[in-house]
């Protein structure tokens, strides 16, 4: 079998050997075992299902949380001649969805967003094909303590229950043991075969720079880093506006560098263009919200800067993990202002409904129930009317379902039950919020710590952290200038702009 696997690997993907963990996970999956794989970002997680999907006789369904990520992945796979793949998601036109459903048995791999798996028609179609494997990508989303909790993920077990014969493969890049336990239990597939690998990235040096004199100093420090370590760079922001603003600031300050911004507010096509430009080194700096990087496989990113911090250590580890996939020395820099603690704290506040919001929604639903109406789906109008965002609406819907106040859109009508439920959910939300707050504080404490940043970061995820002799972290000492990347071209585009004739000629006729 082992040698055969290598043959498959070479035939389908052109690689000669597996990366760490891939063979172990794939072997167990092919044996029909339920597997939980924790592999660092950039270690080829997706191959762990792409290869079995090719080998297994039936269909492999991959549940993925982010639609844009899903679309990117399908495009990339198709680009690499993996054609029997499609994605089903709620942004698709009805017609396209139908077409994919009709041809379901022609695919080897189907990506799906978790909410679509709840769709009765899709479930019906699934019954008509053989499903060889279920994969849960970004499996930490199942855990309420994972940094990206998605209530929809918790409903998966009901689906899987009907497919006891099909193994489940849960994959994630970051999961503390608490989260690992959660994943196993939430899926009701205990025990899962666990394969966890160190997520410590030895080639990434960690710098936390304390900013004491406000925004101006922060911007100046940013420019200093970009100047001292010219390299393909991602800069993370927590707001779209700031990402745009700083992108144009860098454009003005460093005219010989190519910079662009990237966020979920842009059109799909534009986002793809920016990603590809970055991939082909037409751009060297991307100012981005956390939407960036999940789908792209660029190996020569050597600098990741956090202009704003995320809300969890796990997101942080995942974001810096986009650096140095080629194994070369890379640098992570956090520009940290103590006063900006408020930013992640405010963000998490918006991710959990307040008592007021809970009451408004429950009263509204109770009223619908008394008129015998069912639950509406989320819309812009509903959001306006009830003053609630989509994250919180989904959170509440899940809580109500979980607490048996609704089933298949039909609501409980007994008023006394509603009174009780408002209290229950409020209590739960409060504790959920406090947990999220703890996670923010872990990150803050890490940044404000004075001991080795490498040890104090990774000990949250694993017992043993390997020592790094040179350029470990800013508390142990890092020589910044050693991270300058000579391959970054001080762009030719600074020279005289080509006219359309030359531009067209070089585009169409270069190499002809």
């Amino acid at each position: 079998m082992d040698e055969k696997l290598e043959t498959y690997l070479h035939t389908y993907f052109g690689y000669h050997e597996f990366q760490q963990g891939q063979r172990e996970i794939i072997t167990d999956v092919l044996k029909g075992q339920d597997v939980l794989g924790v592999l660092p970002t950039g270690s080829g997680k997706s191959l762990c299902y792409q290869l079995p999907a090719k080998i297994l006789p039936g269909l492999t369904i991959v549940i993925s949380p982010l639609i844009s990520l899903m679309i990117d992945q399908v495009k990339q796979m198709k680009a690499y001649a993996y054609k029997e793949v499609e994605a089903l998601h709620s942004f698709q036109a009805w017609k396209d969805k139908q077409q994919i459903l009709q041809q379901m048995n022609e695919y080897k791999l189907l990506f799906m967003s978790p909410e679509l798996l709840q769709n009765k028609e899709i479930q019906h179609k699934m019954k008509q094909v053989t499903i060889s494997l279920f994969v849960i990508d970004e499996a930490h989303c199942i855990s309420q303590w994972g940094h990206d909790f998605r209530p929809d993920y918790l409903r998966l077990r009901n689906i899987f229950a009907a497919y006891q014969e099909s193994p489940v493969l849960a994959l994630t890049a970051t999961a503390s043991s608490k989260v690992q336990n959660d994943i196993e239990h939430a899926l009701e597939r205990v025990p899962m075969q666990k394969h966890t690998y160190s997520i410590e990235r030895h080639n990434i040096s960690l710098v936390v720079e304390q900013i004491t004199e406000g925004e101006t100093e922060k911007k100046e420090r940013l420019i200093t880093y970009l100047t001292k370590c010219p390299a393909p760079t991602i800069i993370y922001f927590s707001s779209r506006m700031k990402a745009e603003e700083i992108s144009s600031y860098i454009h003005d300050k460093l005219p010989d560098r190519q910079v662009a911004y990237y966020h979920a507010g842009m059109q799909q096509e534009e986002r793809m263009q920016i990603q590809q430009q970055f991939l082909y080194n037409q751009l060297d700096i991307i100012c981005s919200t956390s939407a960036f990087g999940m789908g792209i496989n660029k190996s020569n990113i050597h600098l990741v800067i956090h202009y704003h911090i995320p809300t969890q250590l796990e997101s942080f580890v995942q974001e810096i993990g986009r650096a140095g996939r080629d194994g070369k020395p890379s640098l992570s820099v956090v520009l940290y202002r103590k006063s900006e603690k408020q930013i992640p704290l405010t963000i998490i506040q918006n991710e959990v409904p307040t008592m007021e919001e809970i009451t408004v929604v429950c009263d509204y639903l109770q009223n619908l129930a008394s008129q015998g109406e069912s639950v509406p789906s989320f819309s812009e109008e509903l959001s306006q009317k009830l003053q609630i965002n989509e994250v919180n609406w989904r959170f509440l819907m899940f809580q109500l379902e979980y607490r048996k106040m609704m089933k298949d859109g039909v609501l409980e009508s007994a008023p006394e039950k509603w009174e009780k439920i408002i209290e229950e959910i409020t209590t739960f939300s409060r504790s959920h919020y406090l947990n999220k707050q703890k996670e923010v504080w872990k990150l803050i404490n890490w940044m404000e710590g004075t001991t080795c940043l490498r040890t104090s970061l990774y000990r949250h995820f694993q017992e043993h952290v390997q020592k790094k002799e040179k350029n470990c972290c800013s508390n142990c000492g890092v020589a910044i200038h050693e991270f300058a990347d000579s391959t970054v071209r001080k762009t030719t585009q600074n020279g005289p702009s080509k006219n359309w004739q030359d531009e067209l000629r070089s585009l169409l006729l270069e190499g002809v």
Partner: protein, 358 residues
Amino acid sequence: MLYQTLLLHMQNALAQERSVSGAYYILTGKQSIQTIQDAKLFHLESYYGVYRSLKKQDYMERIDTLVDSGFLQAVEEENHFELTNKGQYFLNQHQSLLQQYSFQGIHYHSIDRIFYKRLLLLIQVWTNAQQNNATYIPVVDEKAITNWVKKLLQQLPKSANIYLNQLFKEIFFAFKPLDINEALNIWVRQLTGYRQIGLTKQQLAVKFEKSVEDIHLLTTSVTHTLLNQIYKHADEFILLSNIYTQENSATRLTRSAQRTADFLYTHTLEEIAEKRRLKLNTIYDHVVEISLYDVHFPLDRFVPLSVQVQIEQAMKQSGSWKLKEIKANLPEEIRYFDIRLVIAHVQTYLDKGANRSG
């Protein structure tokens, strides 16, 4: 600059007779008979559908800016605007821009995007094939476009560099006589080749120090110019003609109107409405739309000559194209439908000599 000039030009042309949404509907190519008729009436048909992705909010914000900076002012009627002296002066200064850049929205609004995307994808496919690279992400992922390109490629079996050479010659030949270097540069830089990804409109806006709207309009204008060249000299643009096939010419009519047109000479309007399970008013809309495109439209069949004369007089009397005002000057039994048909007829008649001169 171009966008601002165009907005002022359109407000000016609509001469307070339409609310501020009127120009928006024309720019975004709203498929309603009122909009198509307005575009014709006020001689704005070149701009019909030239900016289909324009968001209402962004449009309104720009109008607000024009008001705030004293180019436009509100008139008594709600949501109606007129040009201030400053606005008029600006328009006079920059009107030439609108002559410099040619738009032919009424002809190309339904094909320009498709043509452009086909071309975009073909260039990417050929330049990559030429380098023996099969691993790239297509810049266009609409099924309709990718399927079409796949089919075309099957009909073109020669090696990619032959087509690239031909394409270069044709585009070069079409662009060479034009005196709009900057717009051509902007157009070309959006193309994607082998390991060379086209710039986004936003990136071009920064690079050329223009608004995103201007970049969009300049791009559209270049595409229209190219399409017009191909239309006029199909024999010289062999490859490009293939990309601009005639299969889309019928879409000058809305799809639904086209189906009504199929029945028009064999059924009464009432029968069509029943057959198609549509309201009679919808069929009226279709008929008016059809009449706009068909210079041989048998008006007498729908509106008796005597009524036509009455309506034309009422139009002169009210000195306006506004339906309500015209109707007020006519006997009760004359329908809006009759009036709209006559207006369309007058307009089509006026346009007869000026066919296709965007």
